[in-house]
Symmetry: C2
Subunit: 309 residues, 2 copies
């Protein structure tokens, strides 16, 4: 039986979930809707960190120890850039640059992110459909005790040190879902929200008019994979951010955040379940390739349970 | 005694002559006026091959075997670019990319080539002043049996195979000399034309209104270093080009080409001298570092002879 799955995702955690899905489903049945709120221009080049993480992870090129970039990357560009006094707070590997240079070139020539991403995925031999959430510019910005910071300045340059008060998604109100996004949600037999940061990586997607409505009107079960494990977020900054925004770090908060959108929550074996929501448990930390498949399988099993009523 | 020297130059040969000059004169007394007719956009990046050759040669970074790029360069970008289906006929090394990315960024922000080049030279610890011939776009194009080709398409992609009928410098008629260019010529005690290709590398400079006049009105002797050695140009394509344009490959042709502009011609030991022009001889092939200094010394000696009348 063919089962079409749409996944809303940020970078690392979501890429792992999708690579798990690709182990257990035909890749042609998987559509990935990726946050582009982190996209920015650096040294004049258009960088799309979450899309790139999906491209590298699903093509087997992702760096296995750090949460970004390519395995076996070299850094001659950065060394030369430093000598020339260029800004070096955001690391661009030599091989990684090819994506940014080509994407920037195609955008300058009038191309759209969706088509450019599709071409890259095809070149990398990726069978899943990777859709940027929008072809329009959306910029995740953080109001902090150091002032308003664009996402990468906060996340990479300032290493999440500033205290966050508020998160805004500039441009989201007038952005349109990228071609294929709402259709993928409407056509899906199951919709997953990846264990990405709900506030920084998933909310930008949901901030685009039409995407949340598509989730709500879909007849398919919507399952979120919780980013909470053992009362903490897998990635430290999420926990820090939740505390700064006075959100209790537990699954009840995640369930409340996605209230009205999701039908079920996949949580870690050791954590408390929120009330009033279908829940399934597994060990949600994805360290190994097998972990990824198991978490994906559990999310689909929860969707099946809900679909069967 | 301070002796200010201005040099009109293309890439490799001229860079060697200038590095020879820098061995025998204070670098602060040397102004290099560089052809930018070869400049082009590649993958959206602004590439300035002759300026870059000067930057790399004078900072000791130039590749010692090939006529372009950096020594010890790596090629991960090109490998990734090929995998993504990007155009790979023009090789961009990983370290080399830093120049192109930063230059493109500064140009996009409204910077001018002159200031950008000055900053790069300073960062590289270069004491000579490197001036692009113009901040305005000039494109050397070749009318060939394969149609009109931009310089890099002819030179790199087609490896000078097409037969050349005519050379045009698009934009030169409305281009202005870059700030400092005519002043450097006016202030010089000696002016050298490097042994670069007269038709492809020096003519674009002379095609800019005001530069030829500055040479003519200068009281300083103007010395060309002939690119002819043993009845051939040092670089094969120049010989091929001269033949296609029905120009005899000898120093008389070089003298005739620069007639009215130069006061003397430095030629190779083994070649015939043109009539009616002050000439000095040396072994003009610059293989070693010492060769460079010797050729530069001979060009200055000829300038001195002429200045003394």
């Amino acid at each position: 039986m063919s089962r079409r799955v749409a996944v809303l995702t940020g970078g690392v955690g979501g890429a792992k979930l999708v690579s798990g899905l690709a182990q257990i489903l035909p890749s042609a049945d998987i559509v990935v809707i990726v946050n582009t709120g982190d996209d920015f221009r650096h040294l004049g080049l258009y960088v799309s960190p979450d899309v790139d993480t999906l491209l590298y992870t699903l093509s087997g090129k992702a760096n296995r120890t750090q949460g970004w970039g390519r395995e076996g990357e070299s850094w001659a560009f950065m060394a030369a850039l430093r000598e020339l006094g260029g800004e070096d707070w955001f690391a661009l590997g030599d091989g990684d640059l090819a994506l940014h240079v080509l994407r920037s070139m195609h955008l300058a020539r009038g191309g759209a992110l969706t088509g450019i991403t599709r071409d890259f995925a095809t070149r990398f031999g990726i069978g899943c459909t990777i859709l940027p959430m929008s072809d329009d510019p959306v910029a995740t910005c953080l109001e902090t005790d150091e002032g308003m910071l664009e996402f990468q300045r906060y996340f990479v340059e300032r290493r999440c040190v500033p205290e966050v008060r508020r998160i805004v998604f500039r441009g989201a109100d007038v952005a349109k879902p990228a071609p294929g996004v709402t259709a993928a949600i409407a056509d899906a037999d199951a919709i997953l929200i990846a264990p990405s940061n709900p506030y920084l990586s998933v909310d930008p997607i949901l901030a685009i008019p039409g995407i949340g409505d598509a989730l709500i009107s879909s007849s398919a079960p919507v399952i979120a994979v919780s980013p909470i494990i053992g009362g903490k977020a897998v990635k430290g900054p999420t926990t820090k951010l939740m505390r700064e925004m006075e959100i209790v770090v537990d699954n009840a908060s995640i369930a409340a955040h996605y209230a009205g959108l999701i039908d079920g929550l996949l949580i870690d074996d050791g954590d408390d379940a929120p009330e009033g929501l279908a829940v399934m448990r597994t060990a949600t930390l994805m360290r190994s390739v097998d972990d990824r498949a198991r978490v994906a399988q559990a999310a689909l099993a929860l969707a099946d349970d809900i679909a069967r009523g």
